[in-house]
């Protein structure tokens, strides 16, 4: 998978953090993180709440000071600089507008502070408001705007400063699902249009998938994994990623045999073969992951095909979710597994509760996780 923003030129990355750490008392919010973000892309820091992603973003913005490590923005060490002297600007999670100023004043205030002339300010404000889709809202007060519009104003207030890196701290968290989706596409469009680096924090993986060029998964104060949305979704490397992103079924066990292009794992109830280039020694604990849309309930013929891993299971129940239907089955070791199918294809699929069935997947679809 090609990295869309691997730099072919000699420009330093927009963001480079080296051994970055932040402690709150005895709690390590961030623990020697190394991360590099190329210029001009849309990067999402994705992870569970309390995992340290917001801490990382606030460190980049200069709102908190690191306990250890360095932050380089465009190759310049900014670790000791206040927020306004960094090439960054932040869009906050809350509707962080000045409640006593109308849209135009909120957006233009930063330029006023920079002592720009009134004509310049008015022109910039007009341009930015049209970029974020708020033409004609100049005189509205924040309390007269919807949540989505308020976030657009915040975005405008940041963009008008014309800094090179935009930090977004869960900017869509307070919006409802439909609006969030629209705003995602809108944010992506704006980023592509102006071409500056966006770094966006969210715990919502759908949001991350929609919007990101690159995703960095952060949990327990560490970067777990980085990659394009497709890599992260289709080929998660770490077990945590597999469990966190998408709907992966994880089966754990011990390696009993290793050969050239794969290995065999003893899951307790069956021996599962998987194809992998990863190094794993016999006897080590690993996990195999298989996405719910790639696992199937097999009928007699299907099971004979080449390269299919079969295991016995017990059918539990069917959960209708609209576009897809989820079938829950239980493996002999007690682990519940989700099998997802497009609902329309599903007329005579499934089974009755307690029925003994066979589930299976193509061996090349399974992921192997050694850590």
């Amino acid at each position: 998978m090609a990295e869309p923003f691997s730099s072919t030129n000699t420009e330093p990355p927009a963001v480079e953090v080296v051994g970055l750490g932040k402690n709150y008392g005895p709690v390590k919010a961030l623990d020697s993180v190394n991360l590099s973000i190329a210029q001009g892309g849309y990067t999402v820091l994705l992870g569970p709440s309390g995992g340290g992603k917001t801490t990382l973003l606030r460190l980049l913005g200069g709102f908190i000071r690191p306990t250890a490590g360095k932050i380089l923005l465009h190759g310049r060490d900014v670790s000791g600089l206040p927020p306004n002297q960094r090439p960054t600007t932040m869009v906050f999670q809350s509707y962080a507008l000045f409640p006593h100023m109308n849209v135009e004043k909120n957006v233009g205030y930063g330029l006023k502070i920079q002592k720009k002339t009134k004509t310049d300010i008015a022109a910039s404000v007009e341009r930015i408001l049209s970029l974020v889709g708020l033409e004609g809202y100049n005189k509205r007060m924040p309390h007269e705007l919807s949540g989505g519009q308020q976030q657009r104003v915040q975005l405008a207030r940041s963009l008008v400063l014309e800094r090179d890196i935009l930090l977004l701290d869960e900017p869509l968290a307070a919006l409802d699902a439909k609006l969030r989706k629209d705003m995602c596409i809108e944010l992506k469009r704006i980023q592509e249009k102006i071409g500056i680096t966006f770094v966006h924090v969210t715990h919502n993986q759908e949001e991350a998938m929609t919007i990101a060029d690159r995703i960095a998964i952060i949990a327990d104060g560490k970067i777990v994994e980085e990659g394009s949305p497709r890599e992260i979704y289709e080929r998660p490397q770490r077990k945590f990623t597999a469990a966190f992103v998408g709907e992966n079924n994880l089966i754990e066990g011990k390696v009993i045999n290793v050969n050239g292009d794969g290995l065999t794992m003893d899951a307790g109830f069956a021996e599962l073969a998987a194809i992998t280039k990863k190094q794993a020694s016999v006897g080590s604990e690993i996990a195999i992951s298989i996405r719910s849309e790639l696992i199937r309930i097999l009928d007699g013929n299907d099971g004979q095909a080449e390269g299919v891993q079969k295991i016995p299971a017990t059918y539990l129940e069917e959960v209708y979710l609209g576009l897809t239907t989820m079938h829950l089955v239980r493996l002999p070791n007690g682990v519940e597994v989700a099998v997802r199918r497009i609902s329309d294809d599903d007329a005579d699929f499934g089974g009755t509760a307690g029925q003994e069935i066979i589930v299976g997947w193509n061996r090349e679809d399974a992921g192997v996780h050694t850590d």
Binding site: G61, N84, S94, A96, F98, P99, I113
Partner: protein
Amino acid sequence: MSALLAIRDSLMGERGLQRWAFYIPVVFMALFFAAPVALTLVWSVFERTMFWMEPGFTLAAYENFFTSARAENYVYSMIHSAVAVVVSFVIGFPIAVFVRRRVVKAAQHRVILLFILPFMISELVRVFAMRPVLGRNGLLNTGLMELGIISEPITIILFSPIGVVIGDVISFLPFMVFAGFLAMEAVQTYIFEVCDDIGVGRARTFRDIIVPLAAPGIFAGGVFIFVNSLGVALVPTILGGPGAVNAGLIVNQAIVALDFPLAMAISAIMLLTLVVLLYVGHRLFDLTKILQPIS
């Protein structure tokens, strides 16, 4: 018969009692708030007699007020009160901001409650205690002279309008701290982060953001202090000298002189002053915001 029972129930039954209980505050306010205000206006136009007054209509009391030195003193009293408000703002509001910004959230309310402590001491004692501090041979003068900062005692700070302003500030400063603290609720933490991000300096943040957002609360605190400085006779009685009076003391003197219509007229003028003040404040800051929850 059943109709009578229904009436009895509506008056005496459980529901009836609940309904009456609702009116108790209304009755209380009418009796002890609205009525005295109305009577003040009515009595101010009564005829003065030797020891009391009799019904009639005359503007003699108002004429007396506006043609004597009292009107001038009243204006000075307003100026001194305004100065006390400004000084209280300069000292008290930063305290409120400091507590909001720098004290741990859980401890903020306790710290603010400390400012109630002075109210536990009788105001008479509290104000009187300023005398040995501000006097010619008082703590302040002796201290400054010992340090060699001054060679002559400063006498302008006691038995003078300045003494009255000092007394007012010391007496009523907590109002500004309380009101400012409540007003700072309207200035949420993110505001300061946004300012840091944009690069708004401290003075600018204070002027452009904090003060406008906290304005209704600051104004409310200011009104409390202004009204008290104008009306509490105790402070100028103890700390003011000749000529350093406030409206409350002028009223006091009228009562002592048994000129009740004059006392009522001055009170009515104070009332009018306050109404005008509140109206202007409301037009400027929308005072209903003080009681609105912050979303």
